[in-house]
């Protein structure tokens, strides 16, 4: 370690931090890049319909759009409230 290094070592390295933040951010943004623009609206309307019948949370529904070379897949995932939990008073 040279004399110059000694003075330098006091500074924290920020480049690795930048890289890590970028990797997370870019991965997230790429996921949404090719999505059709109607997805958020679709998600909201589906949620409204489901809520007519079952009381679910805002985040109980997830809409995923994936694109391969030849096909586009729309994956819809709804987590219904736990029957056991919602009916606990009956069992106890």
């Amino acid at each position: 370690m040279s004399l110059l290094d000694y003075f330098r070592s006091s500074k924290p390295k920020t480049a690795p931090l930048a890289k890590e933040r970028l990797q997370i951010l870019v991965a997230h943004e790429r996921k949404f890049r090719n999505q059709p623009s109607y997805l958020p609206q679709l998600q909201k309307e589906l949620l409204d319909v489901i809520r007519k019948y079952v009381n679910v949370d805002q985040d109980a529904i997830s809409v995923n759009f994936e694109q391969d070379d030849n096909q586009e897949t729309l994956e819809l995932n709804i987590v219904l409230p736990d029957y056991q939990q919602t009916n606990k008073p009956i069992n106890s």
């Binding site: 370690m1 040279s2 004399l3 110059l4 290094d5 330098r8 500074k11 390295k13 920020t14 480049a15 690795p16 930048a18 890289k19 933040r21 970028l22 990797q23 951010l25 870019v26 943004e29 790429r30 890049r33 090719n34």
Partner: protein, 270 residues
């Protein structure tokens, strides 16, 4: 048919116009008849960087609107007679650029030129979209800095989805990375993203690294593209970029920091 190059980045201030001027001059100097177009309507600056601001009579919008012919609007560069500049309009609205109009001008230029360099404005609005729409090749200008890399990644998404080639299902635009304002000393200290860091995220064909250099400002002060300053590192780096683009195999330079006198004295790093 001309090859259409867009110089783009998303983020502003990373060196798009500096790059456009340098590579257009470089291509012309290599004997290729080249036109460089400023797409930054309302904020034109390419004319300043190329030192022809006092010779602008007609502009890109005038040509699109049929108020002037292409030959009237094109300015022949004072340093190289194979380079022509088509300036942007400084007074018009951005909406004056239309896809049809731009397409027509590019078609006409294509008959007479080998390369057309489109200097994109920052952002992802109309000017930027039209600058890349007709492109065959894209030079993505990126600084080793977090917001620039993010914006470049965003531009790559747009290049692959909103270009004419994408719409026609043709072979996609060829995307190249130009890493500008690179400071190997700061990379070594862990203060700046390295070439590898940036490539891990963008993974593009690297056309060259342009080191941070005082000569870039001096060149713009003088209205001379920095590539004409053959003594400067930035000038040499741009010359390498042009040569690589034209197919020459050159090793990359300016990646490692120089061993300065002081550093050698103090033991230095390898």
């Amino acid at each position: 048919m001309a090859r259409i190059i867009v110089v783009t980045s998303g983020k502003g201030g990373v060196g798009k116009t500096t790059t456009s001027a340098a590579i257009a001059m470089g291509l012309a100097k290599k004997g290729h008849k080249t036109a460089v177009i400023d797409f930054d309507v309302g904020l034109r600056n390419l004319d300043l960087i190329l030192g022809c601001e006092r010779r602008v009579v007609y502009d890109f919008i005038n040509v699109i609107n049929g108020e002037a012919s292409l030959n009237q609007a094109l300015i022949r560069d004072k340093n190289c007679n194979l380079l022509y500049i088509l300036p942007a309009s400084q007074t018009r609205d951005k909406d004056a650029l239309t896809q049809e109009g731009v397409g027509k001008v590019l078609d006409e230029l294509s008959k007479d030129f080998e390369y057309i360099v489109c200097d994109s404005p920052a952002g992802i609005e109309k000017g930027a979209n039209l600058a890349l729409y007709f492109a065959d090749d894209a030079f993505v200008v990126t600084n080793p800095e977090i917001s620039s890399v993010r914006d470049s990644d965003r531009m790559l998404g747009i290049l692959s989805s909103k270009s004419r080639r994408a719409e026609r299902n043709e072979e996609p635009i060829k995307e190249y990375l130009l890493l500008t304002r690179y400071d190997p000393d700061r990379v070594k200290l862990g203060e700046m993203l390295s070439l590898e860091d940036v490539q891990e995220i963008l993974s593009l064909d690297l056309l060259g690294i342009i080191p941070e250099s005082k000569s870039v400002l001096s060149a713009s002060n003088a209205g001379m593209p920095v590539i004409l300053d053959e003594k400067s590192e930035a000038g040499q780096a741009y010359a390498d970029v042009v040569a690589r683009y034209l197919g020459e195999k050159l090793p990359h330079r300016f990646i490692d920091s120089k061993q300065g006198f002081l550093r050698r004295l103090f033991g230095g790093r390898k």
